[in-house]
Symmetry: C2
Subunit: 443 residues, 2 copies
């Protein structure tokens, strides 16, 4: 980043801007530094305490849990929270208002230059009757990093967290009622460039918003059967019927590259994967396993992080392995971090008949997996992310070869099950843990 | 692509779809093949002849040519043309209607997954009084390729061309009147995924639209002066004051990658460049010169293609060089293709005192440029694209070193001027040429 300067420059006005100290938090003062546009200091910091609330007069019916409407993924709750930013004024006061369409100019930056980033998190209804978010501060901090990468304005992550909590507190009681213990809503903070200037430039207007959506339980929705016309085909047809079926990405398609933006949750990382994903689904697979470079480094599975449990060749020790963040081509998943931390603290030693394992972030290739499979050292594999949660992997198809991953008789291996259970316990309040953030519901 | 199949599969209905031959063109029949979603054949082909027209009742004032309003790039003409597509019905009849905001659901695919692509072209008011588009069929064909890459539906490019021409015919006479010979409007065909389902999947609803915008003449808008705080700094400050000033991209920032999507005009190629572009502007440069890999292959200049004229080291022949399309990391610019074709046909031999040159598409590095500069073999450089047109390059800053490119006394070198003049002559009707497509104006 260019060094920050206080002097206003190349602005439309010559009037110096007075900084009202009482109005600004520390983060707010940071916002007042000119951005890369050479803009005037931004006056308004994002401030959830200023939120204006308009309650819907047309409340809608809550769909059945995991039913057809939820599976369509088009139903959001009664309200949304929005906050507008302009280069001239900074952040407006956030608004909670009835959920409904946005009015966006046809020339808006987001529709042309993909100036957009998002987050995915869930609101859980605990078995103790409480609503919880999971490590929500991590999502908000990552959203700020994503915004920086895609030239959207800065904000204090804690204020976004308050906006998310306010929406969950408002719509959670109705849309995720107490009789739905063990169920969730999907929360989608979104940030888009709404500047209507058509030039290729940093947006000078943006909208940050949060919506809550009725989502199916994707951790239980595995591969759809292959289309009838494909079922006679031997090559590339998954054989196993349980657990995720992955197909390795083709040599001519990569998801992310060093110097790109694979680490940030940008729209630009998702749309370009849809063709490969569609081809995978048409062949009866669930997701693409994204490889990288001619060495076929294994990176991510679909839009989830990817883990394997392998018995190390020389030491004979079990290792839980996932790709490292160092090259910035991997999304720093909240679930990923939690899996690593839980396994480090709870599986370092063998106990209760479960063999301990070493947690390793390192690069590994398809050849490593093929060799481990051949030598009987591939123990388990799973994908980890918010949408698919912890999903056991049953099969990896790689250029004519199939790796059938052990799933302990069709469900999931012991480590996959342990990790999933630990997280479920925290998310749904069976275990009291600082990662589970209780949302106080509105009366 | 998966092989096309006629059998409907995994659809919501069991009713076989009747194909009405009279309704469909050959392209329409192609549309009826299932797409990668395994959708039902699409009934409606894009058909500009079905366009419904609603004329605005609130016509607006046309801003001054190249004035402040045009420079803000927010003003579009009175109308726009839209066409909606759904997986269930195919293409609706296009509509011409008053320009105004789009109503887009907060969960729409385009706002989250960057399912978007666009085109850029211009409508020119000729010195002979006629309106022209330039090689518009190339833009429409490229738009179809971009749509395929970003999982948006297929369409017949000729129908998009008709939509563009209809809008130009309607709004051109008023917004680009006959007393503005030598001026243009900027035309932006845009295609976005409007599906409100939040899952990461191919959009099952999309909107194709065309808008016409009042744009400044960017070929004459060069570097803004460095900010006052920077003017004392020696390092990285452009010294020359005319022609584009480029700064080579940093090692940790790459625009496009083989296996990615640099060749397609996707939003996902633009947003992620804005931070680097903002840093370049803050340092007083006009654009980033995008390099690739540790060899520092030279690819594009900002959002334009990049050309150099170099005297070849061994043969001593002049060469016009630009990066090749083979790796699919370079946008196949319409201006790029036209420059190559014009120089091939008109500059192969020396004539009228201008030395002939060889036209070469090949990879070249920053070291090649530095060496040519040092040895006095770097003759000219220019960027070529629709927005910036043919823009001479005066300076390239590359990690502490400056290459001052000859510009023939401050304006542009002879080849840059020739190419620009030839294109101007075709665009504005001074030379009758098949690339200039005359638009018949509505009375």
């Amino acid at each position: 980043m260019a060094p920050a300067m206080i002097t206003p420059e190349s602005s439309g006005t010559n009037t110096p801007t007075t900084i009202t100290a009482t109005k600004l938090t520390q983060a707010g003062i940071q916002h007042m530094l000119p951005n890369s546009n050479g803009d005037l200091p931004n006056l308004g910091a994002l401030d959830a305490s200023k939120m204006a609330v308009t309650i819907t007069t047309a409340p809608r019916t809550v769909p059945e849990w995991n039913g057809a409407e939820a599976k369509a993924q088009k139903t959001c709750t009664d309200h949304m929270v929005t906050a507008r930013w302009t280069a001239e004024e900074g952040w407006d006061a956030p608004e909670m208002k009835p959920y409904g369409p946005l009015s966006i100019m046809p020339s808006a930056s987001v529709l042309h230059y993909a100036t957009e980033c998002f987050e995915g998190c869930k609101l859980y209804r605990g078995y103790d009757g409480k609503l919880r978010l999971f490590r929500i501060s991590r999502n908000c901090a990552r959203m700020r990093n994503s915004a920086e990468r895609i030239a959207l304005p800065d904000f204090e992550p804690k204020e976004l967290e308050k906006m998310i909590i306010a929406l969950c507190a408002r719509d959670g009681p109705k849309w995720l009622p107490k009789d739905r213990a063990g169920c969730f809503l999907y929360c989608r903070p979104t940030f888009i460039g709404t500047d209507s200037a058509l030039g290729v430039q940093r947006p000078r207007e943006a909208l940050l918003y949060v919506i809550l959506s009725c989502f199916p339980d994707m951790s239980s929705s595995l591969a759809t059967p292959a289309p009838p016309a494909m079922q006679g085909k031997a090559d590339g047809k998954p054989k196993s019927s349980s657990g995720l079926k992955l197909i390795a990405s083709r040599e001519d398609t990569i998801r992310a590259w060093p110097g790109g933006f694979g680490y940030a949750k940008l729209g630009a990382n998702y749309g370009p994967t849809l063709v490969a994903q569609g081809e995978a689904k048409a062949r009866g697979f669930d997701q693409v396993l994204w490889l990288y470079e001619k060495e076929n480094w294994v990176t991510e599975a679909g839009a989830s992080n990817f883990f394997v449990v392998i018995r190390e060749k020389t030491s004979g020790r079990l290792q839980l392995i996932t790709a490292p963040l160092t090259e910035r081509i991997i999304l720093e998943g909240v679930t990923r971090a939690s899996v690593l931390e839980l396994c480090q603290s709870r599986l370092a030693q063998s106990q209760d008949g479960v063999e301990g394992l070493e947690v390793v972030e390192k690069r590994f290739t398809m050849d490593d997996l093929l060799e481990a499979d051949k030598e009987g050292r591939l123990v388990e594999a799973f994908a980890a992310g918010t949408a698919f949660f912890i999903a056991p992997v049953a099969l990896i198809h790689f250029r004519g070869k199939d790796i059938e991953v052990p799933t302990d008789g069709g469900e999931a291996g012991v480590y996959t099950r342990l990790v999933k259970q630990w997280l479920v316990n925290i998310m749904y309040g069976k275990e009291s843990h600082e990662w589970g953030v209780v949302v106080d519901e509105e009366a």
